[in-house]
């Protein structure tokens, strides 16, 4: 990258300690707005939040709250199963969208829609589809089998699976697009050479595609995991955490405590997630700030 402007490109003028050159004064002035935003809306809230979460009693209360344990498990299921399924599908579809066909090009324009439209109306749309009495899914089940369909969002595991489905629906296009850019960067000559050698598609994937994409794939998976921790909408708007608060994930649980005016519990539940989040964040930062 173009970060070749290190030591040998040092700014002219007197040493820093003596006097700042006009560009450097401007540099500080121009950096100030962001620093102000950062101090006022990141440093202060985070510090204040940690201060609120300082009492060991909050953690004891969390430990005894069955909803917290359930939310932690749900979050893990969401991340470990949901994200990996999503990324595998994205990897597969990136291969599909890499095919040069006019109709696939058109399909890719449509395919990006879930990512381009806001999530709220579409999540509510899914919620209505799954409504046990009036939803179109159960209407169709009734029409074809004459039986009443299941009460989709009333069974915790089905409801959580549906929330994961909504999440996948929403963010699959984005990750497919990213993996597609990675795939298109692979030199076509490699595939042509392997065609000459008579390689089948699995061998091409194993020896050409995967080696050049694995770093990108792992980065994407980790990034998606971090962000999914903050996926409030998919769960909150589809299930509302219900039935009986059994489908909460950590992000909706924090808001639930907040709504119940238990701010210290809300912060404590977030602090509990930090030992898992911070290493991932640190790892990603290292990778992106190279």
């Amino acid at each position: 990258m173009a970060i070749t402007l290190s030591g040998d490109q040092a700014l002219p003028g007197p040493p820093l300690s003596a006097r700042l050159s006009p560009p450097q004064v401007w540099g500080i002035v121009l950096l100030a707005p962001y620093l102000l935003v950062f101090l006022a809306f990141v440093v202060y809230p985070v510090g204040y939040g940690l201060w609120l979460a300082r009492h060991p009693a909050s953690y004891v209360a969390l430990y005894h709250d069955p909803i917290f344990a359930r939310a932690a498990v749900n979050t893990l299921i969401f991340l470990v199963i949901g994200i990996n399924i999503k990324m595998l599908i994205a990897l597969f579809l990136s291969g599909f969208f890499a095919q040069q066909r006019p109709w696939i090009k058109w399909l890719s324009v449509i395919f990006i829609l879930p990512w381009a439209v806001p999530s709220i109306p579409t999540i509510l749309s899914v919620r209505f589809m799954l409504n046990p009495e009036w939803g179109v899914v159960n209407q169709l089940i009734f029409k074809f089998t004459g039986d009443d369909g299941p009460n989709w969002l009333n069974d915790p595991s089905v409801a959580l699976a549906m929330a994961i489905g909504v999440h996948i629906w929403k963010s699959l296009p984005f990750w497919t697009l990213i993996l597609l850019t990675g795939r298109l960067a692979i030199s076509h000559d490699l595939y042509e050479a392997s065609d000459v050698d008579g390689a089948n598609w699995w061998q091409k994937f194993k020896y050409i595609t995967w080696p050049s994409m694995q770093t990108l794939y792992v980065t994407c998976t980790l990034l998606s995991m971090i962000w999914t921790l903050g996926d409030f909408n998919s769960v909150y708007l589809l299930t509302g955490g219900g039935p009986a608060d059994l489908t909460h994930v950590l992000s909706t649980l924090g808001i639930r405590y907040l709504r119940l005016d238990q701010l210290s519990l809300a912060m404590a539940s977030i602090v509990c997630a930090m030992p898992f989040v911070l290493p991932l964040v640190y790892f990603m930062m290292k990778r992106l700030s190279r």
């Binding site: 402007l5 006009p22 560009p23 450097q24 401007w26 121009l30 950096l31 707005p33 962001y34 935003v37 950062f38 990141v42 809230p45 985070v46 204040y48 609120l52 599909f96 095919q99 696939i104 399909l107 324009v109 395919f111 829609l113 999530s119 709220i120 109306p121 579409t122 589809m129 009036w134 179109v136 209407q139 629906w169 990213i178 850019t181 990108l216 980065t219 990034l223 971090i226 962000w227 921790l229 409030f232 909408n233 708007l237 950590l250 992000s251 909706t252 924090g254 808001i255 405590y257 907040l258 701010l263 809300a266 912060m267 977030i270 989040v277 964040v281 990603m284 930062m285 990778r287 700030s289």
Partner: protein
Amino acid sequence: MKLPTLREVGTEAKLLLIGIPVFIWTMIPIYHMFLFAISPKEDAFSGKLWPAHPTLHNFSIVFHQQHYFLRDFWIQFWNSTVIALAAGALTLFVATAAAFSISRLRVPGGRAVMNLALFTYFIPAAFLAVPMYRTMGNYGLLNNHWSLILAMVTIASPYAIWVLKQASDKLPVELDEAATMDGATTLQLFRLVYVPLMMPSLVAVGTYAILLAWNEYLYAFLLLSKDTDITLPVALGNFLAADDSPWELLMTTGFIYALPPAAVYYAFKRYMVGGLTAGAVKS
């Protein structure tokens, strides 16, 4: 004309076998929403693929605010618009200034600020929401549009700075040197050289921030509460409060709400894909 071989037909069939489910999967929730929006109330639940009597009546009800849930539709639409545009403009200002300072002026400590910004970028937004809510209360900004605008700027600017810094690192240093040689001041350099050259990335970042603010639900729902203050997504969420909420109107409003960002996305797709996804994950 050569007839396609059996093998080619087979490949095409396999591709279609993937493409058709992908198309159906993508379209179902959106089509379902659209179907509700154009169906009269009694038709909406019939489970048909196309209503017997498609109508735009629902749109007319929404536009004329003829329902209890919709009595503040236009003001909520306006709130969403103002907040999105203000957040976009502020993010653009904050991020462009910071990226110029870090990348072109190489201000001391710039790298550390970049890392802090990246750190914020990775903290899940829902986790920051809880302390942010309390902080806005302490600042006395709750139920004020500024709280949401500033929260959106906080969330959008780290990524914006990062994308802009990546792009401006690619501009040759000689450009700045030549301009300085000709006697340009730092501000002139910023205004006359930097900003014009960065236009494509600026468009991408501005669009990103506007869409982020327009689409935001969680922060809007925490920070704003009065019916005339809230944004459209919060109003949509409020429909769920009642058991007898009019679905067809909710879906119509949702459809109207989803149109502007989709249009903006497709209009600026060129910039978005180039500026955002290429920079999103650097392998």
